[in-house]
């Protein structure tokens, strides 16, 4: 479903992600945990390109969301002037296939590709991009996102928060959207709050409205960025219960969370991010009971 392929993310000189790889299959529920500052939120935000990736690619099904990263495609590297030059110099010494593989490895390791690599190379990148790119706004319609700070639209009543995107994007007409909004509000038991502004809701109510706002677009996958971290402790339960409900409906999801108990309960896969890379991923039972990575052992001993 989502494939994060060798993603690097730099904020200026600060390297947050350093080649993160993560695959999320359809129906999977992935919990992303890790120490603060390890890049787990950034990784999640790279999935729907709220953060532009510096290097690497993000794929949604078989569609590319980011610019092409030539280092990930051997056939594109082979069209570069650098490759041709190196190949011409070495072809006679080693066997042909061996030479190709070795030169590509050399180019990748030493970051040898330059800004301009000849017309053939640019054409290959362009062709690949055109063949695979998916407009990010279309992609985002298929990916719901829930934020730590809720981010309900403060200038709109709850009901307008829910129907704004689907009607503006012409996914539904207003009557359909309103009907769906009320059925979702009924599900979270907030029908009476339809015509109030978000300011007058409690944190838990805000977050539950934010979740159904994403559901309004009928997404194929939901991304949760620490959905309970900004909540009062007594409101965490109601939000987790709703997320669990959505999970039980078979929604594919990725959740960045500090709630280990919840991760273990709901997730089908738990991922440990440390220092910008995926350090370990496993089923919840193995992840929590038999961690391999020493940093993960240390982390779990502190949080559990």
């Amino acid at each position: 479903m989502i494939n994060v392929d060798h993603v690097y993310k730099y904020f200026g000189k600060n390297q947050v992600l350093k080649g993160a790889d993560l695959k999320i299959e359809k129906g999977e529920r992935v919990a992303i945990v890790g120490p603060s500052g390890s890049g787990k939120s950034t990784l999640l935000r790279c999935m729907n390109l709220l953060e532009e990736v510096t290097y690497g690619e993000v794929w949604l099904d078989d569609k590319l969301l980011t610019p092409v990263d030539p280092y990930l495609h051997y056939d594109i590297i082979e069209k570069s002037n650098t490759f041709k030059k190196l190949y011409a110099a070495r072809a006679d010494k080693v066997g042909e296939e061996g030479a190709r593989a070795e030169i590509i490895r050399q180019i990748k390791q030493n970051d040898l590709l330059k800004r301009a690599e000849g017309r053939e190379f640019s054409a290959a990148v362009k062709t690949f991009y055109k063949a695979n790119i998916l407009d990010i706004n279309v992609a985002r319609q298929r990916m719901g996102m829930v934020f730590q700070q809720f981010n309900l639209f403060n200038n709109m009543k709850v009901i307008d928060n829910l129907i704004y995107a689907p009607t503006k994007l012409k996914v539904m007409n207003k009557a359909e959207a309103t009907e769906k909004a009320y059925s979702l509000l009924k599900r979270i038991d907030l029908t009476d709050k339809a015509n109030v502004y978000p300011n007058s809701l409690s944190g838990g109510q805000k977050q539950r409205v934010a979740i159904i706002r994403s559901l309004m677009m009928s997404p194929e996958v939901m991304l949760f960025d620490e959905p309970t971290s900004a909540l009062d402790p007594e409101m965490v339960g109601e939000v987790l219960a709703l997320i669990k409900e959505v999970a039980d409906d078979g929604m594919t999801m990725a959740i960045v969370t500090h709630e280990m108990k919840f991760a273990r309960e709901v997730a089908t896969k738990v991922v440990f991010i440390n220092d910008g890379v995926v350090a370990e991923q496993n089923t919840p039972d193995k992840f929590f009971d038999d961690p391999q990575n020493p940093r993960l052992k240390d982390f779990l001993s502190k949080v559990l």
């Binding site: 985002r140 996102m145 934020f147 700070q149 403060n154 995107a165 994007l169 502004y197 994403s214």
Partner: protein, 246 residues
């Protein structure tokens, strides 16, 4: 010992002249007409310049705020940057001179238009910065939420961010318009007859030979205009904030 008495007499004389002149300005059609002529010009230039300033400022702010993901956006962004820098970095009086004696140095060209353009262009630079600051003060999460739902950058800006930012913008725009009205008093420098100039002429030796009454009258006029504008701005602000909490 005689000093206080002297002061009293002087004060008495001054006040007597003041009230005499004051009533003369109000009652004699001649002076009132001069003041109303000046008032008309001040209002004309202020209103015209405000309209140009608001439109120009909004456009420039929009250009500066739109996401920089297109190479064709770079040129308008660059031009707008130069515009605000130059306009805010040079004195208004100089800009007025340039407009009147360089750009529109055409015999018979209506001076009102020159003034309106000069003040409008000047005001636009400040308005654009006010709008930009107000819009940027809206929490970044609002944009992210809009974009994450699949809305385009422009749609998010117009539908979600601007309606929230406009509340923060209104007081600053009000300030700018008030400053603009008072700043129009320098049009006398290019020979135009505005409210301030009216007071100067009436107070000159040719007419009343005392500036006290005419300047006070004109000050009252300015105060009244600005006060009226303040009320309007407060009204608009209250309207916009009504949706905030319920």
């Amino acid at each position: 010992m005689r000093q206080p008495v002297l002061w009293c007499i002087m004060l008495n004389n001054l006040l007597a002249t003041f009230f005499e002149n004051f009533s003369e300005i109000i009652l004699s059609g001649k002076y009132l007409k001069m003041i109303l002529n000046g008032l008309w010009l001040t209002v004309e230039v202020s209103v015209g310049a405000s309209i140009i300033g608001l439109i120009l400022g909004s456009v420039v702010a929009a250009v500066k705020l739109l996401p920089n993901n297109n190479k064709w956006m770079k040129i308008p962004k660059f031009i707008c940057g130069i515009y605000t820098t130059v306009i805010r970095g040079t004195p208004m009086a100089l800009q007025l001179f340039i407009m009147a004696f360089v750009v529109f140095a055409i015999r018979g060209f209506p001076q009102e238009i020159v003034a309106i353009l000069a003040f409008g262009i000047n005001s636009g630079a400040y308005v654009s910065e006010n709008i930009r600051a107000g819009i940027l003060s809206v929490d970044k999460g609002q944009t992210e939420a809009g974009r994450a739902l699949g809305l385009s950058g422009a749609r998010t800006l117009v539908g979600i961010v601007v309606p929230q930012g406009i509340k923060n913008v209104i007081p600053a725009i009000g300030n700018e318009l008030i400053a603009l009205i008072k700043e129009t008093s320098i049009v006398g420098m290019i020979g135009m007859f505005d409210l301030t100039q009216a007071s100067k002429v009436i107070g000159s030796g040719q007419y009343l030979a005392s500036y006290f009454a005419p300047t006070v009258v004109v000050a009252i006029f300015y105060l009244a205009i600005v006060y009226l504008l303040t009320l309007v701005i407060k009204l608009i602000e209250r309207r916009l904030r009504a949706g905030d909490k319920r």
